[in-house]
């Protein structure tokens, strides 16, 4: 890691902010149209049976993680949780594209203009960014 510590710090801040914006936006757009979101999840070939818990759990987690990212003490944990959640979204898309009986229309909300493949790439970039930000965090005692 030869990058200058300042650049690292800035990158961490940018990634955290990106995550905060993405998660808050995603959570709010889900909650505003909650019934519709639940119906869409019920139609998802992957989570139909768990539509209600997932519909509540995902936006709540997104908000909690966004708050963690805003608090300096919890930033590292926030990044790790955001990273994990993003990995899960990515796995979800990958499974839909490769294992599912049929591919649903779209996920709605923020990014409904994207195709599933674009979505996959978008998610992977976010996963990479969070990964980098975690690696760039200065070493300190937990």
């Amino acid at each position: 890691m030869k990058l200058n510590t300042n650049i690292k710090k800035i990158l961490i801040e940018i990634v955290s902010l990106l995550y905060v914006v993405l998660f808050i936006y995603a959570a709010v757009s889900k909650l505003i149209d909650f019934e519709n979101f639940k119906v869409q999840l019920g139609q998802s070939p992957l989570l139909s049976a768990f539509a209600t818990p997932v519909a509540i759990g995902v936006p709540v987690l997104e908000i909690v993680i966004a708050v963690m990212l805003l608090l300096p003490k919890l930033k590292l944990y926030g990044l790790l949780s955001g990273f994990t959640l993003m990995v899960m979204f990515t796995a979800y898309i990958y499974i839909i594209l490769n294992f599912s009986q049929f591919i649903p229309c779209s996920c709605g909300g923020v990014l409904e203009k994207m195709t599933w493949n674009q979505h996959l790439i978008f998610n992977l970039s976010f996963v990479l960014l969070a990964g980098l930000a975690i690696l760039f965090q200065p070493e300190k005692k937990l």
Partner: protein, 355 residues
Amino acid sequence: MKLTHKYIFLTACTLLGTGFVYLLFSLSENIVQYHNTFIRRFPQHLANPDRELDLKFNSYYFAGSDTSKIYLGNITAPLQITQIDTSFQHKQSNKIDLKEKNLPFQSPQIRVQTPYFYLFEGTIPYVFKGSTKDWNGYLQWTSGTYFSQVEPIDSCRLAVRFLAPKTSENLLGTLNLETKTEGFGKKLLLKQLDGVFDTDGSLHYNNTLQRLVYVHRYRNEFVVADPNLSLQYRGNTIDTVSHAHLKFSKINDGTVKTFSEPPLIVNKTSTTNGKYLFVHSALPGQYESMDMWKQASIIDVYDLTQKSYLASFYIYHDKGKSMRSFIVKGHYVYVLIGSKLIRYKLRNDIIKPYN
């Protein structure tokens, strides 16, 4: 946190996250297909309206189909049989000529299983059989137990729903027109209340699997049996009504039994083709848009060989009228709505075509 620890953490989170989603996926698949808690799936464009034909009358019913034609009977002209080719280009009507005319005819029905047709009335009872080449009907059956539904099995056997003598309970069975014998499947329909109303449903014969399929009207069950009337299995539709909800009253000094409150219908009409069972359900499931229920009939598709639920699709109302009945043949669903015959094309990557 040390750099190596971070790598370990990141790897662990990746594996755990992916594993968790995969676990949810496989659990959900298993629940939806085999232990469904009433969640429907509507794959995009599973069935799309594709052609329609105005028949001018709303009294037609499906009498049968083969690889090239749909056969329609007409309740107001009971001896008329109408043939329409599957692309709706040619329509032809014939009159069935019965070779025995001294029977108390009331409302005969027709079933076609090429190259034969059957004309019957279970409350007399009688069965005529003839060839679809000349449409001449010869009397084959004139006595025995009353019956109320008929589906041809092969050139001499018919699957029927009998009205059991004395009790008038529904009873599945067969008529053999060659040996002139009746067969009874006494344990196929299980009585829950009175055995008359609560066991109501619709009878089908599936040629591909060679199975009788009886779909209950008031409970979430269908019965699958072989042509010798031995039970193969009892399947469940995805709703949760396992017990018929019916209340009765006696009127006219106890001579007439009627419903004292509207019955809870579970499964309206149904049909079977290939390895699939198609059921027009009356009950909305979880996470469904109620607007769609005002605009369309919902058809659930089951795989009879996997005993699983596959998917659902919409048959849209036509000028406020809902679907009366339907059949599936090859790539298509044929629907009678009002005075129209409408064809829907099925997505063959999800529902494989069978003739």
